[in-house]
């Protein structure tokens, strides 16, 4: 029984070592660098989503009578401006990154 337990334990350990070492054994496309998203862009994406969700919420609350016409009018403009600002900033970012890629193309 002890021998069987030791053999099973050894097999388990060997399988674990193989599994842990797998990322080093497999051929990976790309480098070994752990990438991180552009934090500025991420903040803009979150700002845009937040403003759009707030707009949706405001529309819904207005429709269900939770927000009066007066309150709706006073809030909707500001939320639209915030969403538009984030969308514009994201567009600018996209264009800049496209330009960078275009600039680099002739060198490749």
């Amino acid at each position: 029984m002890l021998t069987a337990a030791l053999v099973l334990g050894a097999l388990l350990a060997a399988a674990a070592v193989w599994f842990v070492a797998r990322p080093f054994l497999a051929a990976h496309a790309g480098g070994d660098r752990l990438g991180a998203p552009d934090s500025g862009r991420l903040a803009l994406e979150e700002q845009r989503d937040r403003a759009l969700a707030a707009l949706k919420e405001l529309e819904f609350d207005h429709r269900t009578g939770k927000v009066s016409d007066e309150d709706y009018r006073s809030q909707v403009g500001e939320l639209r401006r915030t969403a538009a600002h984030a969308l514009r900033a994201l567009d600018v970012g996209r264009e800049e990154s496209n330009t960078d890629v275009d600039d680099q193309l002739p060198q490749l």
Binding site: F19, G35, D38
Partner: protein, 662 residues
Amino acid sequence: MAALGRAALLLSLGLVAYAVVAGSYAAWCKRRRLALSAQNALVAAFVAAAVATGVLLRALASSDFSFTYVSAFTSRELPLTYKLTALWGGQEGSLLLWLLVLTGYGAAAVLLDRKAGRELVAWVVPVLGVVAAFFSMLVVFVSSPFHTQVAPADGNGLNTSLQSPYMQAHPPLLYLGYVGLTVPFAFAMGALLSGRTDERWIVATRRWTLAAWMFLGIGQLLGAKWAYEEVGWGGYYAWDPVENAALMPWLASTAFLHSVMVQEKKGMLKVWNMLLVMLAFSLSLYGTFLTRSGVLNSIHSFTEGSIGPWFLGFICFVVASSLVLLFKRLPLLRAKTKLESLASREATFLYNNLLLVALCLTILWGVTFPILSEAVRGESVTVGRPYYDFFLRAFGLPLLLLMGIGPLVAWRRASSRSLGKTFLWPFAAAVSGGIGLLAAGAGSSIPGLIAYTFSIFVAATIVLEFARGTQARRTLSGEPVPRAFASLVARNRRRYGGYVVHAAIVMLAIGIAGSSAYDTSHSARLARGQSLTIRDYTLVYRGLTSKRSQNAIEERATIDVYRSGSRIAVMHPGKNDYPIEQQVSNEVAIRSDWLTGEDLFLITEQVNANGTVDFKAIINPLVNLIWLSGFVFLIGSLVALWPDAREERRLAVRYGQLPQEA
């Protein structure tokens, strides 16, 4: 096979230690392959813990008394299901279960939440690894379930309180809840360590927190049901420190589930949310410490253990290190927006949070003060029911009211005119309901009357929210009512799932108020043929019988129950004598009236030598709403948990197509 169990646990310890060291180095130096390898170590640790658990379960099932643990918590006569559930009957098995669930959660979280960003997950792995390493270390060096001995002829048996179907589900559900809170904690710490305090950690952990919170909630309700049927004093919650141990992290995570919405919608309360996640996780560790260290003399803490100092040390380490980290990252967590109005949805969430945390901390103080008093002054002090009842009313009733107010108030700010319009119907329903209840005699308990009135207000709010939402959806899409209702819920699962959970809390509040403020009890010593009367029930004692079951001698009284002159039931309260365990348990008899929600509850308090029996009869009005609320709570939680394909796509776009920093 104990050697295989020990080897598997040792392997698990090695793997999680590797996950800590290699994972930290990989995250620090941004090494992708090493980070993946550390993640794989966490997954492999789960497999190793599962093998160890399998070995112990096999020993339990086959009554292999060469395992000290098996002989300490089972006997040959114990039914198989209880032999298996003895896995969490003792400290060593419970810690092994903690490790299994923790590594399982950890492996699932890092595999499923890779989209949250590899650089964030890279920091989550070592945090999960540290917690898993602590529990691995305990089961390997301090409290191993694989100690062996020369096998005795039979074991000691299982604590009779644990020999209940509820105890087959209650502890594992609580563990799923306690341990599940490790995932949001690990992601929060990962966000702080990586300096990436954007919303990704919240998005990644939303469902894990909800699942852990749901398990904790259902686990506590099953525990209450177990106490009601098995402990046999007529109640379901005694403010026992170990019961409170599960309630505290549930309250903290309830606060977090609300305040996290303010962060998602407004980008506020970032520091507060971090603190709540830390509080919930620390309280889950504290709960395990209370249950398993033997520091408390409770019917729930079945063990006297040596792990107390280890747990205290680890809790101190977790609290201190997470607070230092939070303090260092404070500049990253500053909110860019402010609370615009005190009459807004986010403000009601803030009030709700303050009340939930206040209730949580008063319970924490009630649990901790006797321990501190005994440790510092050597005096044994008991914090009793009046303390907890006072704070439950002081914080719980306003919380109940806020549950009705919150959904009626718009985000950002609400004018008095729109507030008046939305509050009109719920307010009218509550006032007329309250007056009606007063006329019906509910004024005998003022807190009970307030709880009922507030419950009507919340129930009216929920109905109104569903009705107005369905109507708005209908106007927009032209769909018929059932379809508009279904698409309303499907498009806003968290909101409407949350409202269903609110409905469950209303049912719970009504059940608690009814059974605690309007209950009736009567005790009597009866000889054969004698009767006792309680409200409109007459109970006639007919005699006592005794029979032998697999592992107990069961003694049962026969009681004929009459109502308005006609016999409506025969009830059999009694006692079980467990010879191997040398314990006697109260086996109560309960007759539930599902139409009124009321229970007739009979206890055989004592069987006397002269043949008479001391009985206690209790009528618990509306108590069945408490158990029913569990089903509604489960449905609401599942609705909120169910993935929303449109939101998943939106998040995939947000996080999946981002350019990477150099």
